[in-house]
């Protein structure tokens, strides 16, 4: 059976710690998850969790800016952080002799960040984040669609109503007082988990974790609003946008089962059968046989408070989105009516399992996966449960889960070329 061997313990202050030893390379990875994401943002402060992630690199009391990056890079280490709707993670990778340094830096910012953050640092990262928004969405083809989908799919009071990157206006409005309040509420040991992976001695690592994190105060996990009801659209929604693109793209979105909820794994399988590669139904029909589409995709984007099942197709020159819509709908209806074949489901399962194996090739991915299970399941020991839910999928369960989702109202979002696109493509 596939496993990621680990030891785990919880510090007095509530911080879960996960140790995964792999001595095949002289490297170590430290990976910290905070159970806070854009879903936890206050009204008028969209994008704040992500902006905050940037500020975590702006120095702490004993490692003033730019020590965090400068110290680890001086030894060949590197780091990054990512923010989603649900959580924020930070990781460092480097030579094994940096383990203690990594832990010191992570612990120091958890203990002292809000004491030292300044307006100037906030201002600097505000600009960096605004550039990130332009680079990743506004100046990227079809990026406007990614910004529009959450707003259309979720009601204004739902925590997924806004994109993680936030709005320029709200990023402008953020203050140092907001930073301190956010930090004090969410950045505490009981709202985090720490994973260490790589070439280290577990007893030494445990002593180091106790030394740097153990003294930090025990505070209760932040109070959370009750989990909102599974969102539903009252009726179909249609949105038409233009962008600086050559070809029109159709994106269909449905609300679907939350991460690890019944149906989530079935919908991963359905997405694979429908649009997950060259042997999928949409590829075969629209790209291979009819040759009316340039590309197709389908995926279940799994999240804690509810997921979205998404389908996309880009029309070839000379074809329009009504034609795409009709062709996609026909394949969706066929999958609802017949379900996948046994062979299709077997391929989807095998591909999923093999992708899982491949992800285990990387040290930091393993650390991240253990933290992911800790975050979602409250226990890092999630491999068997995770893999097992795919093994349990059947033709009937996939069909049923898929039919339930696409039987609900959906968002039909169409992105068309701006009228004056330069160098228009010809059929």
């Amino acid at each position: 059976m596939l496993t990621i061997p680990f030891d785990t313990f919880v510090l007095e202050n509530g911080l879960p710690v996960i140790l995964h030893v792999d001595r095949s390379s002289p490297l170590v990875a430290v990976d910290v998850w905070y159970h806070v994401g854009s879903k936890d943002e206050a009204p008028g402060r969209t994008g704040f969790a992500h902006l905050f992630e940037h500020l975590m690199f702006m120095g702490s009391r004993n490692a003033p800016y730019p020590a965090f990056d400068a110290i680890m890079e001086s030894w060949g280490g590197h780091n990054n952080g990512t923010t989603s709707n649900d959580r924020t993670n930070y990781y460092e990778i480097g030579p094994r002799n940096l383990l203690e340094t990594f832990l010191w830096l992570e612990a120091d910012r958890l203990a002292t960040l809000s004491d030292v953050i300044t307006d100037e640092e906030l201002e600097r990262q505000r600009k960096v984040v605004q550039n990130e928004r332009r680079q990743s969405y506004e100046n990227r083809p079809y990026g406007r669609g990614d910004l529009a989908i959450p707003e259309a799919m979720y009601a204004p009071d739902h925590p997924y109503h806004w994109p993680t990157i936030g709005s320029h206006e709200d990023i402008e409005a953020a203050t140092v007082a907001d930073v301190r309040a956010f930090f004090q509420r969410f950045y505490r040991p009981s709202n985090a988990s720490l994973a260490i992976a790589g070439d280290f001695d577990p007893a030494e690592a445990r002593a180091l974790v106790e030394k740097y994190f153990g003294w930090q105060p025990k505070l209760p996990a932040p109070a959370r609003p009750p989990k909102p009801e599974q969102p539903r659209l009252a009726r179909d929604i249609r949105i038409a946008l233009t962008d600086r693109v050559q070809l029109p793209r159709l994106r269909l979105s449905w609300h679907s089962a939350a991460l690890f909820a019944p149906g989530d794994a079935d919908l991963d399988m359905a997405a694979h059968v429908l649009g997950g590669g060259k042997s999928s139904r949409l590829y075969r029909s629209l790209v291979f046989e009819k040759r009316i589409a340039q590309d197709v995709f389908a995926y279940q984007s799994s999240q804690l408070l509810g997921s979205m099942f998404q389908v996309g197709v880009t029309a070839k020159p000379g074809h329009d989105l009504d034609e795409m819509s009709a062709a996609v709908t026909a394949e969706i209806q066929r999958l609802v009516a017949e379900g996948p074949t046994e062979a299709e489901l077997a391929r989807a399962r095998n591909t999923h399992l093999a992708d899982f194996y491949k992800s285990l090739d990387h040290l930091q991915t393993r650390a991240d996966l253990l933290n992911h299970y800790q975050h979602v399941l409250g226990d890092p020991d999630g491999v068997a449960r995770d893999v097992g839910r795919y093994e349990k999928t059947t033709v009937a369960s996939v069909r049923e889960a898929f039919a339930r989702v696409v039987g609900e109202p959906h968002l039909d979002l169409r992105i068309s070329p701006e009228p004056a696109a330069p160098n228009p493509v010809t059929a």
């Binding site: 002799n97 693109v245 990387h362």
Partner: protein, 451 residues
């Protein structure tokens, strides 16, 4: 804890044990065992690539590679895809300027079955007209869609200007609309016959395979793939004259994508380790001078970086950043000042130590995964380098002083020699660029054609 902890010595980096043998067809094989994940990676690295695209047929090497798995042996395109999925395996092809690559990754149990499909794809691709019509049309549409992506546009324009269209590195690997239109299925058949040969490739197998059986299994799996006359690599041309400033107009763009390109060096130069270190200081790390200035000090960008492309023949040096449209001119000014700074601001002891550690650990990280091992040793095979080359690189890093780096900077990074290529809103950015002393721009379209 007020005190930063003591940091012990950097670990030594060791090469994994590599076994090398040749099959009877002339295919060189390098095998590396790693059993951390139950997978095997195999990469066929061909020593010729897009640099041998014939004149007016840019895109031929890559579209040939793409046609290989569109039907081969007894399977059509969809059957190949379905059978590979059933095995939980991936097969992908890629082309670069110096080489092309076909890679397979599979769980240990199905690796041989996936390699049997790979053998068909290499030796017996169908290259049929119906598939060609589809792939050709998809590619043509794809290179037109490239105009949507400012980063891709700046790549195409900078290479065409720096190397010139006649140079083997000048035209985009994917081709241009007109060069794709010119390619025929017969061109593809000819390119396959001339290049996809076992004696033109190195196969790197990394992962959890059975060492005692590998050679005999590969011999059997790949027996029907026959050798031929190995093609000669492309010949470079002298650097053409280049304009100082090029703009690809993107009206109302919220960011300007800025690239400064200049001549670099080749993969075999003894200066490669030193220039890699110099680049870590200039723009190859988060705390590099470029990123610190443009991102952290000024907030002009989400990230600024630089790189040398070390290729069979001299490749490019490039400095890059996507910046606020309204900050374009000051960002370019700061970029140039950092290039000048390599001559004016001495490399500090800290920068030198960082560069050494960064490059050393990059070698270690490259060797720490199955895919990374296949990439590391595949590159050695592509350029015919010895298997201990990473260790020679490591030794050369240690032997390079801060003074050496300064001398390399003087010699190779000339802030006045590069061409600045910007994809952005001309009307908004041109006046500012003039104010910082740049000449009127040469204008190009989104394919890099001069207007």
């Amino acid at each position: 804890m007020a005190q930063a902890p003591e940091v012990g010595p950097l670990p030594t980096v060791a090469l994994p044990r590599a076994t090398r043998f040749a099959l009877s067809t002339g295919l060189e094989v390098v095998a590396l065992r790693r059993d951390v994940a139950p997978i095997v990676s195999a990469s066929f690295m061909f020593r010729t690539g897009a640099s041998l695209d014939p004149p007016g047929r840019a895109g031929l090497a890559s579209i040939t590679a793409e046609m290989l798995d569109e039907g081969a042996g007894t399977r059509d395109a969809l059957a190949i895809a379905a059978d590979l999925e059933q095995l939980g395996s991936d097969l992908w092809v890629a082309s670069g300027r110096d080489g092309s690559q076909l890679s397979v990754q599979a769980p240990r149990e199905t690796f041989n079955a996936a390699m049997a499909i790979a053998a068909d794809v290499l030796a017996r691709p169908r290259l049929e007209d119906s598939d060609w019509q589809r792939v050709h049309n998809d590619r043509r549409t794809g290179v037109v869609q490239r105009r949507d992506q400012p980063e891709a546009v700046v790549n195409v324009a900078s290479d065409r200007i720096l190397f010139g269209d006649a140079h083997p590195y000048g035209q985009p690997v994917d081709g241009l609309e007109r060069t794709i239109d010119a390619i025929t299925l017969d061109d593809v058949r000819g390119f396959h016959a001339a290049h996809v040969l076992p004696n033109n490739a190195t196969l790197v197998v990394a992962g959890d395979f059975d060492e005692s059986k590998l050679q005999s299994e590969l011999e059997a799996l790949l027996a029907s793939w026959k050798p031929g006359a190995a093609p000669a690599p492309a010949r470079p041309l002298p650097w053409p004259d280049r304009p100082r400033l090029v703009i690809v107009d993107r009206p109302a763009a919220p960011q300007s994508v800025v690239r400064m390109v200049a001549p670099g060096i080749d993969r075999f130069s003894p200066d490669r380790p030193g220039l890699s270190m110099l680049n870590a200081i200039l723009g190859g790390s988060f705390t590099s001078r470029l990123n610190f200035n443009l991102r952290e000090k000024h907030g002009y960008t989400y990230g600024a970086a630089s790189s040398f492309a070390f290729m069979r023949h001299a490749g490019s040096f490039a400095a890059r950043a996507a910046v606020f449209a309204e900050s374009t001119a000051p960002a370019v000014r700061e970029m140039l000042s950092e290039l000048r700074g390599l001559r004016e601001r001495p490399i500090t002891t800290e920068e030198h130590a960082k560069a050494h550690a960064t490059l050393l650990m990059r070698v270690a990280e490259g060797l720490s995964s199955t895919g990374g091992m296949a990439t590391t040793f595949g590159e050695l095979g592509l350029y015919g380098l010895p298997l201990d080359e990473p260790m020679r690189f490591v030794a050369a890093l240690r032997a390079t002083s801060a003074d050496d780096l300064r001398a390399l900077g003087e010699r190779y990074v000339d802030p006045d020699a590069g061409c600045i290529v910007i994809v952005g809103d001309r009307a908004a950015i041109e006046p500012g660029l003039r104010e910082i002393g740049l000449p009127p721009p040469v204008m190009c379209n989104a394919d890099g054609d001069r207007l």
